[in-house]
Symmetry: C2
Subunit: 529 residues, 2 copies
Amino acid sequence: MRHARWRGLLSVLVAPLLVAGVAGAAWAEPTAAAAEQVTRLTDVVPAPVEARPTPGETFSLNPATRIQVDRGAGDVGEQLAHLLRRSTGYWLPVVPDHGFTSNAIVLRLGGADPRVGEEGYQLDVTRRSVVLRANQPAGLFAGVQTLRQLLPAKVESDRPQRGPWRVPAGQVLDYPRFAHRATMLDVARHFLTVDEVKAHIDRIALYKINRLHLHLSDDQGWRIEIKSWPRLATYGGSTEVGGGPGGYYTQDQYRDIVEHARRRHVTIVPEIDMPGHTNAALASYAELNCDGKAPPLYTGIEVGFSSLCVGKDVTYRFVEDVVRELAALTPGPYLHIGGDEAHSTPPADYQEFMRRVLPIVERHGKTPVGWHEMAKAATPPSAVLQYWGRGTTDREVVEAARRGNKVIMSPANRTYLDMKYDPSTKLGLTWAGYIEVRDAYGWEPGGHLADLPESAVLGVEAPLWTETLTDLDEVSFMAFPRLPAVAELGWSPKVTRSWEGFRERLAAQGPRWERMGVAFHRSPQIPWR
Amino acid sequence: MRHARWRGLLSVLVAPLLVAGVAGAAWAEPTAAAAEQVTRLTDVVPAPVEARPTPGETFSLNPATRIQVDRGAGDVGEQLAHLLRRSTGYWLPVVPDHGFTSNAIVLRLGGADPRVGEEGYQLDVTRRSVVLRANQPAGLFAGVQTLRQLLPAKVESDRPQRGPWRVPAGQVLDYPRFAHRATMLDVARHFLTVDEVKAHIDRIALYKINRLHLHLSDDQGWRIEIKSWPRLATYGGSTEVGGGPGGYYTQDQYRDIVEHARRRHVTIVPEIDMPGHTNAALASYAELNCDGKAPPLYTGIEVGFSSLCVGKDVTYRFVEDVVRELAALTPGPYLHIGGDEAHSTPPADYQEFMRRVLPIVERHGKTPVGWHEMAKAATPPSAVLQYWGRGTTDREVVEAARRGNKVIMSPANRTYLDMKYDPSTKLGLTWAGYIEVRDAYGWEPGGHLADLPESAVLGVEAPLWTETLTDLDEVSFMAFPRLPAVAELGWSPKVTRSWEGFRERLAAQGPRWERMGVAFHRSPQIPWR
């Protein structure tokens, strides 16, 4: 990825965290419930495959409502209960399903329409109950995200709010279009804490994003403990863009992130970028350099100046050790090895490097993923390419797809969340252009690259680079509302696609983000409520 | 205890368990809250020492209410939350106290008026909060029982009910008159299951009863596993009055009961009755009999025919083993050794037996308790005597008290819960007379026995023998409402005593027992609501 010159880190006015104060006395004398608009069954992002409202009917949460769960649905049930308890103040006990569904939210495993597959669900809301059916817990989790969006926005508050808590009645049948619906966090340019990453996972899961790509190493920092090469983290991770203190995840912390993501049905895809973007590693171990001399740590934002030494055996011992440790920590099937912008690696060396490294990844049981430059190498058919270009043609990617490689669509001018929304945006860069919400939404992942058939597209991913972003609020401001737009491209069928419909549905998310304390861009393109 | 002839086991119509059905739709459209009478601050059994209502003011539980607890108050807080969640359906999170008391029930340890001692509490209810203060968790637990009674009766339901949930405002300062406020369960004549004993503990704790005496052995059955004498339980526990299957508690089950009681600030006082009331032991081990021959198991209800063999050394090895195992299982300070109705033990033998057995109990770290006949022996000053006679004089007890022995008052014609209420009562016996509620309430434990000063009275205890009672419903029918009457004699100061006041306060308990599923006698003396 090429990047424009760094323009400085500017603070941003984030949406204020709205926490309604609740006084006991104020609650003591309930008045008649104020007329409140009920969410529409279609006010969901990403748009569901099918939604049939039952006009004029609602289900209401109340203090006697129970959450009934099948065996295997308990964890999803507890997560739902945790969310609802905070905002409703109701107990909502999670109990085994006993088949009788009055005044209950029921989570059932099995028996769903076969079309919903492993990640989809069916939702039936009547006056008496909310019944979610799925074939796997991931589908129940997705259905719960829909249910969250069907409840009033105040359901996202972290303190009890006054009801009523109505869900519009009707039937939803829903499942994803693409298997890969992802975003990427660059924790190398600026480090993000474990808690920030976890909070980000919570937010993206609400939009049925199922993979989080973590860019764990770059010129400016190495962010994951590798026990066989300890200085990578302790020295290579000791700074960041702008010269701040940086940081890294211990292996236990990384496991903690993986587990937090797993409960939310998000798979972590770790990336160690190579052979370029490796200054932090080269600075930590002199022997990795062809001249045997360690360069200084780097805190700027230029790219393309570093390379592992392709001709040295130690390079491959290093890669083997890193891949072995990272693969052992990562239950998901993918390991991303970067491969982008290797401007300091001669083309023949790049091919030689990939010829030796790709089998290492496969030997450790992982499917290799690389940025689309990896198509220049002899990739095995199992490898996945991530297209990040700004055009609509890429001969090498199309040829790789013909050999069997799947492609993740991350066109920089559509999905790069670090691009400014417009000239007034204080954060972010502009090298791929301004990207307003409509730009992020208005493209078609199945037909974006000429001659690349939809069957070769694994899915979509919106990367977020952090040259100019220093904390979760800044990350959120750039991700919302563009990330939900990309999430919808990944989940919803083409026939549901409509900018007019999307902007209305997106508008309904604003009050949710306010309640959640999520900073977001109040795009003038959206009729915020 | 002498007992009249067994009159057969009769089933009884128990108060039906009232469980209000709750339909989701019915709750969906809240109407204006129905006018509901708020409990009065004085509607508490046992009567509090001081209660000053704040007229016209109430605190209301609502979905945003929190339970704030000091360190050390968490368990009492969780028990309160558990009760309230079931009936209100509110979450009521238990959180550390942060000093700010809006819309909260606050449980504070320390800083209470010194008069409240270890078991008392102060309760301050305002529009904004409920604040309980005590010096020990036992005091907080007692205060929570008062709070339960100040909430509407429906708070005892096991399913969510509609609010409002008002507590009358005001101040209560409360602490017990006597240290010993107990009841006894005879699990020997008819066995009661672990769950029945636990449920009984829950019910008695609501009336601030702090000790449960378990009569674990008698002629008809041995109910506690003794590992060094295993046949006591496996054979001696294999039947009961009427020839039913009997049963016994394993040591783990007994520990479970002790722990269940401990959390409710109830101390278990285990009793092994000796040297009489021992047929089950004598039937289990032939060597315990003077003639070396084991008698058959016994399922009738006569008394006074069995005795351990005072002249044999094996008797004291047996007692030593039993006391050692039971003492090790029992964290409370007392071990009850019976000593009553030893009609088959010559007086000199009785004295010799007690001379050898009392030191065994003390050597195992326990304070010996015995029925009042033990006063005939040379008791150490630490021993406690339980008076169960029907008169108002007892020379031997008074003399023992002069030597330092404390006395528990269990006059049979006032406190024996197995006596019939009146001639129409189907269950129970009559040898000590009929005992209606007013009889159980209308006596003075501090001055009941002539020449026994109040300072010698450790407290009151209401025994419940089970010749005619086979399960928890039958036990409850006999215990309620007489046991709360005796509980009030043990807790409340004499100046609060008034039959007119008590019957009004007791009447308020009826709807609670209905909600709890507690069978009780609808005494015609009480103006039930």
